[in-house]
Symmetry: C2
Subunit: 538 residues, 2 copies
């Protein structure tokens, strides 16, 4: 039997028996076989001593059981690490940040507590996945959409707490921003409801986000201040129609105006552009057909901008392109698309291509035929095919880690970020998976993505971890910060948010000590350590 660090085996054994008393013997896991499921499949410490592992796992069925577990954990000072469905792949999965913690697995708390069709809201437990909620909506023929990330097997609550994103209209695809109301078990076992939920019998817990007085919800995102046991979300009503269209421009410098117009249209809520700025010239998009032999040859030579532009002009291959998405009626989405073309048409030589068009509701058969499901709020696991074994990817990796700094939403920032990292990679002699194209998940900003494969070779992983950390520091020198990261890098990222001698982290940790005096909950998460472990900060 593994034991949490610093805990006597007898003491741990007692606690496990007490956990069994709460949830039953079947729902306390201590065998290696069972605990294997709580490893991080994409761990960059794969097989190394530093790989983070659970000492046990306990799976409660109710909020009351979570409260009882937290009280027992406090009595024995046992580190606890809650997960919703444990699908946070690339950012730690189910494995605890502080190795040896007991995983509090909330998968059995998977009740869809309410779906309000008229107000387009829902209230769910942490074990509810995007698939679960989608199936509920389809089964009940509700005129509502969910907004899901790819892949769709994760937890609505887990993804929102990590501040993940999806693909539909801006207010919905910001999963944290779209939440309304929480129920939280505090580290001491007390139970809090935020927003209007603090009023017994409240009629607008999932409708009015802020409630009364200080709004505490943010404390519980990307953090370790409580175990969220219920959470509400604003949902999108089913539109009558969806339409997409592609904008294509042919010169490098068109990027600047393209981005400004994108920002204008999204800030006016004319369209949703959750996708990325693609460069059909420089990179093949996911699912795009292979490049022509001429283009492949050009890319291999990687010439200067002028030659690329000449190729673009002569072969009708855009330097930049972006897919726009519109939600409304057939006619209204046509008006949106027409307006977008009018605005982007001010870029000389811009071309446009009509994309998908759907009217709703769709039959199950029609849903299955859709290639790009996420923008329609349909969960899938198709994103995993990206890393699969294909002719162009004969040796798939064992996982990945993404480096994704937030940069300004401007062509200049895209250009600078690309240059800074290109020069650094040359200097460092490394070559991450290149996808230096701006991603549009968040409003008002881009992030760039650089990927590293996870290897089962420790030396490769060590080198990639080192490069990753250098990139964090280099990005911070330019004022670009990570919005989210894996446990291996949580401290390094937190270190870059250092204004006024780390004033924000000092405040976060002061608050942490106040709500979790024994420091038992998710130690180290997002760089926040309890007092007794603060000196071990990596």
């Amino acid at each position: 039997m593994r034991t949490p660090p610093g805990l006597a085996p007898e003491s741990f054994a007692t606690a496990l028996r007490e956990f069994e008393g709460v949830v039953g013997k079947d729902w306390v896991f201590t065998s290696d076989d069972d605990l294997h499921l709580y490893q991080d499949a994409y761990s960059p410490f794969w097989g190394e001593p530093d790989e983070r592992k659970a000492s046990a796992a306990v799976a409660p069925h109710s909020t009351e059981e979570v409260q009882a577990i937290m009280r027992i954990a406090n009595a024995h000072k046992i580190p606890i690490y809650p997960i919703s469905t444990g699908r946070n792949l690339g950012y730690g999965g189910a494995a605890p940040v502080y190795s040896g913690s007991v995983v509090l697995d909330l998968k059995r708390m998977n009740r869809i507590l309410e779906v309000n069709e008229r107000n387009a809201t829902c209230l769910v437990e942490p074990g509810v996945s995007y698939f679960d909620l989608y199936r509920h909506i389809r089964a009940n023929k509700l005129k509502l959409w969910i907004d899901c990330p790819d892949p769709g097997w994760g937890s609505l609550i887990g993804n929102a707490l990590e501040r993940g994103n999806g693909y539909t209209l801006a207010p919905y695809r910001d999963h944290w921003g779209a939440h309304a109301g929480m129920e939280v078990v505090l580290p001491d076992g007390d139970l809090v409801r935020t927003g209007m939920g603090a009023m017994p019998g409240a009629k607008t817990w999932q409708q009015f986000k802020y409630g009364y007085g200080p709004h505490l919800d943010g404390l519980f995102s990307q953090s370790n201040f409580g175990v969220v046991t219920k959470m509400g979300f604003w949902m999108m009503p089913e539109p009558e129609a969806f339409r997409s269209g592609t904008v294509m421009v042919y010169r490098y410098d068109d990027l600047f105006k393209l981005v400004d117009i994108l920002a204008y249209l999204e800030n006016l809520k004319v369209m949703s552009a959750t996708t990325r700025v693609e460069s059909p010239l420089l990179f093949g998009a996911f699912k795009a057909p292979p490049p022509s032999p001429e283009l492949a040859a050009l890319r291999a030579r990687n010439p200067g901008r002028e030659e690329y532009e000449a190729f673009a002009a002569n072969n009708n291959v855009p330097y930049w392109s972006v897919i726009l998405r519109f939600y409304g009626s057939p006619k209204l989405t046509a008006a949106h698309w027409e307006y977008a073309q009018e605005k982007f048409g001010t870029i000389a030589g811009a071309k446009f291509k009509d994309g998908d068009f759907y009217e709703f509701p769709l039959s199950d058969a029609a849903v299955n035929r859709i290639m790009d499901k996420a923008p329609l709020g349909i969960p899938s696991l198709e994103a995993f095919s990206m890393g699969g074994r294909t002719p162009t990817n004969p040796t798939p990796s064992n996982g990945h880690m993404w480096f994704s700094p937030i940069i300004p939403m401007s062509g200049e920032a895209v250009q600078e970020c690309e240059r800074v990292f290109r020069e650094a990679f040359a200097q460092w002699g490394v070559n991450p998976l290149g996808l230096p194209l701006p991603q549009l998940y968040h409003e008002r900003t881009f992030f760039q993505i650089y990927g590293f494969p996870i290897s089962h070779d420790a030396e490769t992983n060590r080198k990639n971890r080192e490069t990753f950390k250098r990139m964090i520091a280099l990005a911070a020198e330019h004022g670009w910060g990570e919005y989210r990261t894996a446990p291996a890098f949580m401290d390094a990222c937190a270190d870059t948010y250092s204004f006024n001698n780390h004033a924000l982290r000092r405040l976060q940790e002061k608050l942490k000590d106040a709500v979790d005096p024994n420091g038992i909950l998710s130690a180290g998460r997002y760089g926040i350590w309890p007092e007794h472990l603060r000196k071990t900060r990596s």
Copy 2:
């Protein structure tokens, strides 16, 4: 000289000299004449011993001065009450919640630090009013809009921290929701920047809201956890055109479908409907022409629904109406309005009327001619004319207090709320200013508004305060809570958010004690008291 409660006059005199050392003699106020300016002009305790008054005021010019003042206040345990511009009329104005506090007046910190036209964001200090920012935009011909409440003389930061609302598109008119990034002086004088501002040299402080790790911004809204010295906002890009239109329906029961369609269209971001559901039949809207003699006679008789409906049908006076607002190009707003008419046209007998239409930018002369400025992001003080002396309002009051519970966005909730309060008023023998029409300031919910005039007769005020408190309790019994209230009612409202033995307030106060151990900052605000005053909770 007044002194804060429990403080020796000599000790206070020493502190005032130290304040003078920080801000200069001219900016520490102790005379009755000066302090009169910090009274609440709309105090429901007008002239009574319980009226909340400042013992002094100090007006710093910089963040560093705010820090120095907080350190001095800690050393002497002096209660401090920050205000931005002190224009929070109806919700306490400039007067402290805890009488005898020293007002920290931030009006001199009125710098517009940055306006980013391309990303449509700004960074301002607390003394910057909506007028200030609007003038800056006009002077520099920036293609940006602000979203302002009526009236427009208040502080952007103050209004956002109170979670106030405006009149343009939904993401902008939620002033708290539209903020991005804060700088805060903590009660102990330490300085924190939130969101990306925690990264030195961050490039996206006003663009990316959440930063990294627990998002603490909510702690500082409707609260007493820090003094906000800078705050960023997402702004709306100037649209090419604005168009409004009125939907009119003629039967009482049309309310239900009207509200459902409103919710659908706003949730799909087709339009902004920040206004209220009007009833031209039952009430004259603000600025509406006086009713016909026949309608006035009908209202005076106040007959049953059938008779009202007959009048509505025969005289073309809608039972309900709502003004919709659209932002985009001339053509796009026409498409939005057409779509809205298609949806509302499913209500039998619905009629439509084209409203205002403007193309931008407007000349100063054109701006002056606009009757309804707030939906165009133009600040004014015209709302004050509502309470002025007119033929129909021969004895204007000395102010007002609004009771405004959040209710679900449904016709049924509107109906129930109207019934519950009508019956209660009859039972209690009171008659508040009736405006039981649902207000659409927030997304997803309505609030109802009931107003009480502020009198200079103590007995009248006492009765109105009593009624107000009974309404808070009655609303809570039905699950309806206040989103904001005046100091006189902050404890009473907080009392209704009582789930699990006031778990939320217990958590808020635990956090309060951690960040403000001497309990010097804005004691009692939104019902949160520091430890040493907790027993005095009213």
